[in-house]
């Protein structure tokens, strides 16, 4: 990994850490709100990167896994308020397992296809889960629901404030560490090897399929955890969280930052969230510039932001 990438990632983390005192000092709660959004989306993007980047599989339904995490929190808070089930210590692993299992199942079916067909079938499963969320009439159906109670964390909760922000940043750091370790492991080597040349991997007798399903599960689990944080952050859960446009946005973050690199998803999420805030302060029509900017990055810098900063590599 180039030094520029490391430096920028470090600078971003410093900014993430500094955001809390700065926001308190300047009495700017919205600043913290924006950075929390950034940390949560970056966590989901890190998860998606395992499949999209490292394994090179064009998955476009990951918003559904974020949605599973969010609905886990929302449904538990609505059905079992004041019990153990509203504890973050229970919700986070539960959401991770649920989203991971669903991701593994979807992966297992989707991996029967390749290329564009794979892209479309993951989208199709995402849509099915979207409509499943719409069918949850008890939980607001299309209209969604307000989170009845934030996740408890000891005496505190994740509703707002510095604690919930700190958790989001810690979770992002952990997600990056997991991504780092996974990709340094033999597991990661198989995934990358299969992305580069599937036949060779199979020729040496490795069941690529199983590794890829594993990547799907890990990726889904990280997105599920991001979903738990997202539900607490916005205190509102609706099918819109699972919309296919959200899946595309997540993928765009990964690609913009640099797919298949450790810090790419972080860069992409930061660019997406921060540029929106900065540009929209200048003009409500900022997308007319942001859109062509994305195209320009594709044309001029195929490796995304991480690629711009230095040679593309994984370690």
């Amino acid at each position: 990994m180039s030094r520029a990438v490391l430096l920028l990632a470090a600078a971003l983390f410093v900014a993430l850490l500094a955001a809390a005192p700065v926001a308190l000092l300047l009495d700017a709660p919205y600043l913290l709100f924006v950075f929390q959004q950034l940390a949560i989306l970056a966590t989901a993007a890190v998860g998606l990167n395992l499949v999209l980047g490292y394994a090179g599989l064009p998955a476009f339904g990951h918003a559904a896994f974020v949605g599973i995490g969010a609905y886990t929190v929302g449904i538990l808070a609505a059905e079992l308020p004041g019990t153990l089930f509203t504890s973050a210590w229970l919700q986070l692993p539960l959401a991770a397992v649920l989203a991971g299992v669903v991701a593994a199942l979807i992966g297992a079916v989707s991996l029967r296809t390749r290329g564009v067909a794979f892209l479309m079938i993951t989208l199709a499963f995402g849509q099915m889960l979207y409509f499943a969320a719409v069918a949850l009439e008890r939980y607001g159906g299309d209209d969604g629901m307000i989170l009845a109670a934030p996740s408890r964390l000891g005496e505190q909760d994740l509703s707002r404030g510095v604690l919930s922000y700190a958790i989001a940043v810690v979770v992002l750091a952990v997600a990056l560490y997991v991504s780092f370790r996974l990709m340094r492991s033999p597991f990661g080597a198989v995934l990358r090897g299969a992305a580069a040349n599937e036949r060779r991997m199979q020729a040496v007798g490795i069941a690529v399929h199983r590794y890829r399903i594993g990547a799907f599960a890990a990726s889904g689990a990280l997105c599920g955890i991001a979903g738990v944080l997202l539900a607490n952050h916005t205190a509102f859960i609706s099918p819109a969280t699972l919309a296919w446009t959200r899946s595309v946005e997540l993928a765009v973050m990964v690609l913009l930052g640099g797919a298949g690199t450790l810090f790419g998803p972080l860069f992409g999420a930061a660019a997406f969230v921060l540029l929106e805030e900065v540009f929209s302060g200048v003009s409500e029509h900022w997308r007319i510039v942001f859109g062509p900017l994305l195209l320009l990055i594709v044309l001029a810098a195929p490796g995304g932001i991480a690629g711009l900063l230095g040679r593309q590599s994984n370690d």
Partner: protein, 310 residues
């Protein structure tokens, strides 16, 4: 029975619009290997142009012709300026780039045409209804959409199957490198294919404009359906797109009309009430997943090239 026939007609009418949308998409996809998310933007522009030009000229037909021309023009410029750079790039990068184009077109449309939705009345001579069979009364405009769509499908079939241009196109879709080696000017061919796709997509937008509110974001609503059609039909296959579009249109319409009732018949009330509408919305995606698992290259697979790694 008359209700069923009327719903089936509604399904076919939706299917015809989907065909126009996906025929362009499947050509661009199959011949040029481009995943173009901005295809829906051309549909939106067609609709906006139709409203504007109809207001200027006072005639729906003149307005529609002007809109078609304008959409093709935008398509040509788009291919020259942006799409050309995306040939031979991984699909994921094309997704990122054309996603940027969606943002551009949506915001540009908002700037040029204003944020409010626009509506377009069908021409007076098509605002009545026709009695097709005793008991089956159908709005004339919807019938006209059906006829226009079928005529376009026939024209497209003739173009692709019977003309020299179509032959080149089929050759390029089957094997681009071989076609180029044999002297096909692929730059020109790609431009023509993209313009044709823009025309078809714009036509869909023009025809749909009087049926809905013309607004920013309408392109993304149908884009997904168009992709479903393309994939089920088989990438690059016009015939596949036609069959899949009609299939999806009919499945979607009939599913929404009859599935909740059928479920209510089979299960207890509240369960069916909750599951019925959701399941009918899911139906086409379930259909797509099944087709992809059984026949990963769609119902009418064309070339072997499209399942190369993304």
């Amino acid at each position: 029975m008359t209700l069923f026939l009327e719903q089936a007609l509604n399904g076919l009418q939706l299917g015809v619009l989907l065909f126009l949308l996906s025929a362009g998409l499947t050509l661009v996809f199959g011949v040029m290997g481009i995943v173009n998310l901005a295809h829906g933007s051309l549909y939106m522009l067609g609709a906006y142009f139709a409203v504007t030009f109809t207001a200027w000229t006072g005639s729906f037909v003149l307005g529609a012709m002007g809109a078609l021309l304008a959409t093709v023009l935008v398509g040509v410029v788009l291919e020259r300026v942006a799409i050309r750079g995306l040939y031979n790039r991984p699909h994921l990068e094309q997704v990122l780039g054309t996603f940027g184009l969606i943002l551009f077109f949506n915001e540009g449309t908002r700037l040029v045409f204003g944020p409010a939705g626009l509506s377009l009345a069908p021409p007076a001579w098509l605002s009545g209804q026709v009695t097709l069979l005793p008991g089956i009364v159908y709005p004339s405009y919807r019938l006209a959409v059906l006829v226009a769509g079928i005529a376009s499908a026939a024209g497209l079939y003739w173009l692709v199957a019977r003309t020299r241009a179509g032959m080149l196109l089929r050759a390029a879709a089957a094997n681009r490198n071989m076609a180029e080696a044999l002297g096909v000017n692929s730059r020109l061919l790609f431009l023509a294919v993209f313009a044709l796709g823009a025309a078809l997509s714009g036509l869909a937008g023009i025809l749909a404009a009087p049926l809905l509110t013309v607004r920013v974001g309408m392109g993304e609503e149908v884009l997904l359906l168009a992709f479903v059609v393309v994939v089920i039909g088989g990438i690059g296959s016009i015939r596949g797109a036609l069959v899949a579009a009609l299939l999806i249109g009919v499945i979607d319409t009939l599913g929404r009309a009859y599935l909740p009732g059928a479920l209510r018949f089979a299960f207890a009330g509240p369960v069916a009430d909750a599951v019925g509408p959701a399941l009918s919305s899911m139906l086409i995606y379930i259909a797509m997943a099944v087709v992809l698992v059984v026949r990963p290259r769609g119902l009418f697979p064309t070339s072997a090239r499209t399942d190369v790694a993304v």
